[in-house]
């Protein structure tokens, strides 16, 4: 089942009078359950592509079809609704709300979906357990390590059962050991729960976790390969 389809997608940015092309004629299809890495050097267009797929930005040309919805013609509020219902985000800087505890941060996503309190609490506790944060629910982000914060961010992305999780360099701010455990967690969730992940990275160790690798260079897809390398998913 196709979740994401990019048709001839291009994106240009204006820097004063200069037009900078960020993506050029991208054609891409992602199906349900994929664990895909978008790789490439800095400035290759990884984040721009994730932003376009995540409805955070709109393409200059071409169209993106997300879960059968053509994103191009949607209004601001409709895009917000698409993001709320379909997409989970994981950012390299976590972006958690510092005044809320880990529990409240995760629960807040469900308030956006207007779940009742009982259901919110039940799902949040389950999710905290799933990402290995049981017992830390009452800690605020400042009281958690980088790895723990990223686990909260992953929980935040997954709590609403999205069809797609987009992770922009999820391990960039973590040490290699913590980064590995985060990737293990993501892969585990992908394998056990069937969550579709697209993540960007330029770290070769992280790339190995992906089953599909899309290589970008100067805004163009230069390679789209299946990663057959066997990887042992450690137990969380």
């Amino acid at each position: 089942m196709t979740i994401v389809e990019c048709r001839n997608v291009s994106k240009e940015y204006k820097l004063g009078k200069i037009i900078v092309p960020a993506l050029k004629d991208i054609n891409l299809t992602v199906t349900k359950g994929e664990f895909t890495a978008i790789v490439g050097p800095s400035g290759s267009g990884k984040t721009t592509l994730l932003n376009l797929i995540g409805c955070l930005d709109t393409p200059t040309e071409g169209e993106i079809i997300l879960n059968g919805i053509i994103v191009k013609n949607q209004k601001k509020d409709q895009l917000a609704d698409i993001r709320r219902e379909n997409i989970g985000f994981v950012f390299q800087t976590f972006n958690l709300i510092p005044v809320l505890t880990a529990f409240e941060n995760i629960e807040f996503v469900l308030t956006l979906k207007e779940y009742d309190k009982k259901k919110r609490q039940e799902l949040t506790l389950k999710m905290l357990e799933k990402v290995g944060l049981k017992g830390l629910e009452n800690r605020k982000p400042s009281e958690l390590s980088g790895g723990q914060q990223q686990r909260v961010a992953i929980a935040l992305a997954l709590i609403k059962s999205p069809t797609l999780v987009l992770a922009d360099e999820p391990t960039a701010n973590l040490d290699s050991k913590t980064g590995e455990s985060i990737m293990n967690l993501m892969r585990d969730l992908n394998e056990k729960e069937g969550v579709t992940f697209i993540f960007s990275t330029h770290d070769e160790k992280v790339m190995k976790f992906a089953r599909r690798i899309i290589k970008l260079h100067d805004g163009k897809i230069v390679d789209d390969i299946k990663n057959d390398q066997e990887y042992n998913c450690s137990v969380i």
Partner: protein, 415 residues
Amino acid sequence: MIKNIIALSFKNLKRHTKRTVITSIAIGVGIAMLIWVDGILKWADDESKRNLIGYENGNFLVCTKEFKEDRKNLPVDTVISKEDVKKLLRIAKETSCFASPRTGFRSMVSFNRSFGMPYIVYAITPSLDSKVFKIKDSIVEGEYLRDDSDGILISSYCKRELEVGLGDYLTVETRTRYNTYQVLNLKVVGIYETPDPVVDRNQLFVSSKLADKDLQTEGTATMVVFKTPTEKNMPYLNQVKNLLKKYKLSYLTTITWQEMGADYLTLSKTKKGGSGIIILFIFVIVAVGIVNTMLMAVFERMKEIGMLRALGMRDKYVLWSFIFESAGIGILGSIIGLILGIILNAYTVYIGIDFSSAMKDMNIGYRVGTIWYSEWNPKMMIMAVIFGVMISMLVSIIPARKAIKMEITDTLRVE
């Protein structure tokens, strides 16, 4: 949803407690000033009305049409005849009002060969006048005039200015009803002190019996002042007007205290403008404080805002989260302002502020003494609190809009 956004907004208030408190204090000071100044102005307003009626003009007066035209010059050649004064006293009785005939003489008053000072010497019938005016209750030395008194009643202001005391003789230079020059030597029998500076600084009193004889009033009066049994003027005024027709006194007319105190009423209107300026002043304080605080909050939380929007929070809810946060500051500021305003107002209600040295010789139009008090105005207190919160919410839209105007991708990039 809104409930959770409110909860988040109030949690955000705790991020920078010092900043929240400082902004709230600034708003509080503005609101306290509004409550306090309004209380003082309300007191000055009400006190002026009370004094205008109680010491200066009564509720309304009856005089000749010519006198009304030229009332600022207090003409004494156009009078109400002795018989008609009696009729007016009868009218007062019929309408359950009190009435007092008065004739005012512009005079130069001096003591011990000093330079004379201008005063209006009113010829009154003390037994009637004391039922209309409160001068009798304001005697601080000596005694009030008797109907057959040959002396003069002066104010403590006059005593101070002319350096005169009880039992001293004042020289009163004036003109009689027939415009002949007259000089009287009158013994000071009493000294009064009223809260109405216009009365204290301008008016002296002699008995009408003395005026009948020495100023040729012969039972006439230039005006008959009425005091109504209740605060409502109009029903009694209309009754008196009807009775003037009935008694065929068509040469007479009426002047209300509002017409006599036109200068004060102009000031009262200006006061309302003054309150508007204070409100504007507070608006600026609140606006600057809130906009500044919320702008800082928006810039600090750019990434979080981006995250919330990425999670699918609609822009209007992001906007509301900042508006509720400002409302929280506004509520805190209003509570501080209310408490501070009540404390300041309580001081002026019960103790007052003494402006004696500053206002000794100053006439600012209000008929109030040199000690200024205040009144409680619960309506204004409620309005001030609502105003503080509403303005806080309103001005926060400016920075909050900034938060949602930026592209999500840009907000997520902010370092």
